[in-house]
């Protein structure tokens, strides 16, 4: 499912070619009004050809046959584009489905792991059933862990090989069907009937994506239908106009029905009409290529409109954890002494912060890990009461903790709490870092500065977003001071400090009330209300079932930075539609210059002055325009599937460059294309 999959992979092209033919069925054509007109035109000219063969044609039978043939090709090319896009999408769905197998399930009557399970088939499971899942088992259905804890390999869904922990209660209680339990066991309650499981629904959505038009697609279709009606009337009325002109000028023939059908097909927006559904399907495919499953095309489209991104600080803007970056000793204490004490206090601390202190001390003063056996060591774990951790070693009582905790500890022992240390700690906090105090025998040694590490390149990313008109808001549980400093460093536009789920929801509502579209990511159950409220809500696949249900997209990689990519894919889809519509409509100018002189030259030879391309004959002019009109669909299939290149620019810049490429280009390209085809037809002696 990577994006690099070749557009013209023979494994996809072959079935698409066949599908292009089967899609000629009227009930399929009926769904696309623009191409339906071409389809009817193809039948109509075929009938005219039969009539001409019987000797009653209004144009040479050879010309009618050629035009009719190319009209059929036009329909086939559009069918092929759609089939190719669907084929790619189906291939992706199939690779997802391969993870879905019928497996054995151990059904329990009560959530008691020691009860003897009834062995059954995963297909027979129903919502509410209780399951025992042992090490080595494939999880038979989506469920929620009730008892136990297990490590689970979710690589089948996420592609991530590192196992994850699933346990009862909290945010990590959801297990997904198709994943494998690696160690231990859990008792889980089934949360979805077969065929309705999360993966099933995702696959169904991907396969069914083409069936539902998005709101913008509907609006665009209305415009295309209107244009088609206009051109239908323009061409139909040309017949009486032509008859009147022939009578008035007293020379020439009224325009033939074949030429009118050719003109009609050239004028109606077949380029965008033929590629529209392919663009939509390809948009979903690109999401899938980025390992994001969107519940609907509507969600993909909304992603392009997002005004505000709510980004969790941890994991998105900063690396997961804070790290020690500096030792700031108190007056009269050497930095090395502080580092030594800090390292000692952190030896048993397995948190990433603790480990980073050990590492920093090692880097700064080459303090190696000690041979603890030589010492009289007892580690003091962190408790909610003392809010400190530390170590008692050889009579030294080393403690580290938050400023308040150490202050209380020192003051309780009747010692001074130096004002200079308080000041140092404040400065650290003002920088957006977290001060951690170290004390030895109730004497404060100094401050460890723990800092959030902002991810590399993220600032540039936010600058791009700003240029696109998207505002970024950082969500963090930190205090406002810390949050402000990190926000400034990362270059986000705004932040929400000390964020609670309620505050997050309120922020989304308030932003939406200003008329803005909000996108966010979330994984916890407490994120669910905010996810449900947000316009584009990306749930992490590692998140809880509630979060996934509330979101309208799931990121299989569980990478919060993905949101930015999602926005780009949404925009790309809309841009591709707009670009091809503009191109399609601009094309008509050249086609008029080809067909009008050709159609009426027998009545008014003076109109040949409009034959600016110098096309060989009326027949070659009309045929060249029709062939160009068909071939341009094929030429643009890669663009439709890949999407117009997106660059982070302001709307005005984007418009200028796209108008130039697709507007002006659309005006000029057909002049060249039609001329080339005409030269080729003439050289080959086909007309």
């Amino acid at each position: 499912m990577s994006q690099s999959q070749s557009l013209l992979d023979p494994a996809l092209v072959k079935p698409a070619l066949w599908a292009a033919v089967t899609k000629l069925a009227p009930q399929v054509q009926w769904r696309n009004p623009v191409m339906l007109v071409v389809y009817v035109g193809a039948w109509f000219t075929s009938a005219l050809w039969v009539q001409a063969c019987l000797g009653q044609g209004d144009a040479p039978a050879g010309l009618i046959a050629a035009i009719s043939l190319w009209l059929w090709f036009t329909v086939l090319f559009a069918n092929f584009a759609e089939a190719l896009a669907e084929g790619r999408s189906k291939a992706q769905a199939a690779s997802l489905r391969s993870t879905k197998k019928n497996v054995l399930a151990r059904k329990l009557k009560t959530p008691d792991p020691d009860a003897s399970p009834e062995i059954t088939d995963s297909a027979s499971l129903r919502k509410g059933d209780l399951l025992l899942i042992l090490a080595g088992d494939v999880v038979p259905a989506d469920g929620e862990v009730l008892v136990g804890v297990a490590s689970v390999d979710e690589s089948a869904i996420t592609g991530e090989s590192a196992p994850v922990i699933r346990e009862a209660g909290g945010d990590f209680s959801a297990i997904t069907g198709g994943t494998r339990v690696l160690s231990d066991w859990v008792v889980a309650r089934v949360t979805a009937n077969p065929g309705e499981a999360f993966l099933d629904r995702m696959i169904a959505m991907v396969e069914g994506a083409k069936r539902q038009k998005t709101p913008n697609e509907i609006a665009l279709t209305i415009l295309l239908v209107a244009l088609t009606i206009v051109f239908l009337v323009v061409t139909i009325t040309l017949l009486p106009f032509s008859q009147f002109s022939v009578a008035a000028a007293g020379s020439g023939q009224p325009v033939s029905l074949t030429v009118l059908v050719a003109l009609l097909v050239c004028l109606i927006p077949t380029t965008i009409g033929g590629l529209l559904s392919a663009i939509g399907v390809a948009g979903m495919s690109r999401m899938l290529g980025a390992n994001v499953i969107a519940t609907s095309g509507r969600a993909v489209e909304a992603a392009g409109d997002v005004d505000v991104l709510l980004l969790d600080k941890t994991g998105t803007i900063t690396l997961g954890n804070r790290q020690a970056v500096q030792f700031i000793p108190a007056a009269g204490v050497s930095e090395e002494a502080l580092a030594d004490a800090a390292q000692f206090a952190s030896l048993a601390d397995e948190t990433p912060e603790g480990r980073s202190i050990v590492v920093l001390a090692k880097q700064r003063f080459n303090l190696r890990e000690r041979q603890l056996e030589q010492h009289q060591v007892s580690f003091i774990p962190f408790t909610a009461q003392t809010r400190m951790s530390g170590v008692d070693v050889d009579g030294r009582e080393i403690r580290k903790g938050a400023v308040d905790a150490i202050r209380q500890y020192v003051l309780a022992a009747g010692q001074d709490f130096p004002a200079s240390v308080a000041k140092q700690a404040d400065e650290v906090a003002r920088r957006g870092a977290t001060p951690l105090l170290v004390a030895e025998n109730q004497r404060v040694l100094g401050v460890i500065e723990l800092k959030d590490i902002v991810k590399g390149g993220i600032k540039e990313r936010f600058a791009e977003l700003r240029a696109m008109g998207i505002k970024t808001v950082m969500i963090t549980g930190d205090n406002p001071l810390t949050a402000a400093a990190i926000a400034a460093e990362a270059g986000v536009d705004d932040f929400l400090a000390e964020a609670t789920p309620e505050a997050k929801l309120a922020l989304i509502r308030q932003t939406q009330a200003e008329g803005k579209l909000v996108a966010m990511t979330g994984d916890g159950t407490n994120d669910a209300p905010a996810l449900a409220q947000a316009d584009v809500a990306v749930a992490m696949n590692t998140g809880t079932q509630a979060a996934k249900e509330a979101g309208n997209m799931v990121d299989l990689d569980s990478n919060p930075t993905k949101l930015i990519e999602i926005v780009e894919i949404g925009k790309q889809m809309l841009m591709t539609r707009g670009a091809l519509t503009t191109f399609s409509v601009s094309n008509d100018v050249a086609k008029y210059f080809a067909i009008i002189p050709a159609a009426f030259a027998s009545t008014y030879p003076q109109l040949n002055a409009l034959n600016v391309m110098g096309l060989t004959s009326p027949a070659s002019a009309i045929l060249s325009a029709v062939i160009f009109n068909a071939l341009i669909i094929v030429v643009l299939i890669p663009l439709a599937l890949r999407g117009v290149r997106y660059q982070a620019q302001s709307a005005a810049q984007l418009l200028r460059s796209n108008l130039l490429i697709y507007g002006l280009g659309g005006l000029l390209v057909p002049f060249v294309g039609i001329k080339l085809i005409d030269v080729l037809l003439t050289v080959l002696g086909l007309v």
């Binding site: 709101p215 913008n216 509907i218 609006a219 665009l220 209305i222 415009l223 239908v225 209107a226 206009v230 009337v233 323009v234 009325t237 040309l238 009486p240 106009f241 008859q243 009147f244 002109s245 008035a248 000028a249 392009g304 409109d305 005004d307 700003r466 240029a467 696109m468 008109g469 998207i470 505002k471 200003e514 008329g515 803005k516 949404g570 809309l574 841009m575 707009g578 670009a579 519509t581 503009t582 409509v585 601009s586 008509d588 100018v589 008029y592 009008i596 009426f600 008014y604 003076q606 109109l607 002055a609 409009l610 997106y646 709307a651 005005a652 418009l655 796209n658 108008l659 697709y662 507007g663």
Partner: protein, 596 residues
């Protein structure tokens, strides 16, 4: 373009903008119900009218109620005007004792004036009594313009408001537009015109003795009033000689002012603004041209003020002006290039003076023709059929663009805003967002209404023209054979469906066939556009107004002007190029081919 042509254009546009700016502020205030002190004394009349009609002015309407009120008012106006024409024979103020207008002509004229088209199948001085002119036609001149203004203001409210169900009160908008904008301006203009010699009286027609006998030829009419034709299809002419001339009289100045200010264009006399009693001097001509664009231009600027971003108004005005200048440039160049065939007759001056008043000349006639067809006015000071083929194509095309180059009072703005929505929809997609204009998302309902508005007039024009050239009764009215005859029919349908009302001449249109066909085109061209526009206003008003950011497509500035001009031209040309190719374009090629 000659220096004279450039100078007249620059002077015209300069004065127009200078006048439009203060008027735009006046419009903004008045339509919001903030009546300037000068007109406060008239407010008793406004309130009295509401009491009389049982209108609660503070009660706003849903778009459907607004549209129903508008339709009801216009249907009643149509019935009243029809009845008045049919009954004028027995009513006072009829010194020439004209009888009832024929039923098909009365029907056509009633529709024509109600729809702000003012297509005239009749000749005023030989058909209408003074009472019909004043009580019927002039009244519709006021209220049809006020109707257009009301629709535009309702649409502006749709953009300016957020998340509300109402778009104003039709009766209030209609009354305020008439009382505080059209009436005061008409009064001022009428006085100015009288100072130039435009007549205003109730006298019977005067007879003057000519110094020498005049003989002229005119088409011979058969018993049914149709032009008789010979075997080749040419009109049969008869020669007439006379020593006296009848000078028609009437209350002209009062009707002339609103004819132009309301972009109506229905002349008191058949010759319209080419008649010396309607438009006697170059200054009166200049004032008339100013009056045509004045309210449309001011309304565009007022639009910017009402939506809270003046740049939006200036952008639309710039797009309109650009299209206008382009059209004028081609027209005046074509007329000054003239007719190459005259060189073969030994003439050294090729400029085309045929069908033009000598007191206005080529430039002022070209400017007037561009203005009157750019706006949906339809008053003429020269015969458009006598222009060169390209010169005649420009007025045709200006109408076919949908009367959005300044356009009719109100109608020009709402038509142009629909094109803006179309441009934004396609271009907006190209910047990767669901398109929005002035903070309103353009979704399928807006697109449906936009599609309807853009579909209606081309369908009417093309299908109507096809019908006319296919049927014998349609072909019977065509005076000139060949491509020019086709242009005549195309012009008539373009004029009617786009509610312009000017005539190309050369088409005998006062026949039941054309009266009914053009009547239907005028009615649908007006109200089949207004209803979707009001529906859109309602839908827009109900939407929230989204804030603008760097990702929003900017709808002001040169880029958007170019985009809007491109959208208008592309839609217009794609619709009409084939038809124009068989009319004026081939005529032009034929003319110049022979000369080379």
């Amino acid at each position: 373009m000659t220096a004279n042509a450039f100078f007249q254009l620059a002077l015209y546009l300069g004065v127009l903008i200078l006048l439009a700016m203060p008027l735009s502020r006046w419009l903004t205030r008045v339509m919001a119900g903030d009546i300037p002190r000068v007109l406060r004394p008239v407010q008793w009349l406004e309130h009295g009218l509401y009491r009389l009609a049982g209108v609660e002015p503070k009660q706003e309407q849903h778009w459907l109620a607004y549209a129903l009120g508008l339709l009801l008012f216009n249907v009643l106006g149509f019935l009243a005007l029809y009845a008045l024409q049919r009954a004028q024979g027995v009513l006072p103020l009829n010194p020439e004792a004209f009888g009832a207008v024929s039923s098909d002509s009365a029907l056509n004229t009633a529709i024509s004036f109600v729809t702000n088209t003012n297509w005239q199948g009749y000749g005023g001085e030989s058909t209408m009594s003074y009472l019909t002119q004043m009580l019927g036609l002039a009244v519709q001149n006021f209220v049809s313009a006020a109707t257009g203004l009301a629709v535009a203001v309702a649409l502006i409210r749709g953009f300016a408001r957020k998340s509300v169900r109402t778009i104003g009160n039709f009766w209030v908008d209609l009354t305020r537009g008439t009382l505080y904008i059209l009436l005061p301006l008409s009064l001022l203009l009428a006085l100015a015109l009288v100072s130039q010699g435009v007549i205003q009286n109730f006298k019977p027609y005067q007879s003057a003795r000519l110094l020498e006998a005049q003989s002229y030829s005119q088409p011979k009419l058969d018993a049914a009033g149709q032009a008789m034709k010979d075997a080749q299809g040419h009109a049969v002419l008869e020669s007439v000689s006379t020593q006296t001339q009848t000078l028609p009289m009437g209350p002209v100045a009062s009707q002339e002012a609103i004819k132009l200010l309301g972009t109506n264009g229905g002349g008191f006399f058949n010759a319209n603004s080419a008649h010396p009693y309607e438009n006697p001097t170059p200054l009166s001509n200049f004032l008339q041209m100013l009056a045509i664009f004045l309210i449309p231009a001011a309304l565009v600027l007022s639009f910017g003020q009402q939506v809270g971003d003046r740049r939006q108004g200036w952008t639309i005005l710039a797009a309109m002006t650009l299209l206008f200048v382009l059209a004028y440039g081609v027209l005046v160049a074509a007329e000054q290039a003239g007719n190459p065939r005259w060189a073969t007759l030994g003439l050294d001056q090729l400029v085309n003076l045929e069908g033009k008043e000598a007191r206005f000349g080529i430039v002022a006639s070209s400017l007037f023709a561009t203005i009157t067809t750019a706006a949906s006015c339809g008053a003429v000071n020269a015969m458009h059929a006598s222009f060169t083929p390209l010169g005649g194509m420009i007025p045709t095309l200006l109408m076919q663009l949908g009367e959005v180059v300044f356009g009719g009072v109100g109608a020009g703005l709402y038509g142009m805003l629909v094109f803006a929505l179309l441009a934004v929809f396609i271009a907006g997609l190209m910047v990767g967002r669901t398109p929005e204009y002035l903070g309103k998302k353009i979704e399928s309902f807006e697109m449906k209404m936009t599609a309807l508005v853009i579909l209606v007039t081309p369908l009417l024009v093309l299908l109507g023209t096809a019908l006319a050239v296919s049927l014998a009764s349609g072909r019977a009215g065509i005076f000139n054979p060949g491509a020019h005859g086709f242009s005549e029919v195309l012009y008539a349908l373009s004029s009617a469906a786009n509610n312009n009302g000017s005539a190309f001449a050369g088409l005998s249109a006062n026949t039941p066939f054309y009266n009914f066909l053009l009547g239907a085109a005028m009615w649908l061209g007006r109200f089949a556009v207004i209803v979707p526009v009001l529906a859109m206003a309602g839908a827009l008003a109900a939407k929230p107004r989204l804030p603008v950011n760097a990702g929003t497509l900017p709808t002001h500035g040169p880029l958007f002007v170019g985009l809007l001009v491109g959208a208008v031209l592309l839609v217009g040309l794609l619709n009409y190029i084939p038809a124009l190719a068989l009319g004026p374009i081939v005529e032009h090629l034929q003319l110049w081919q022979v000369a080379h």
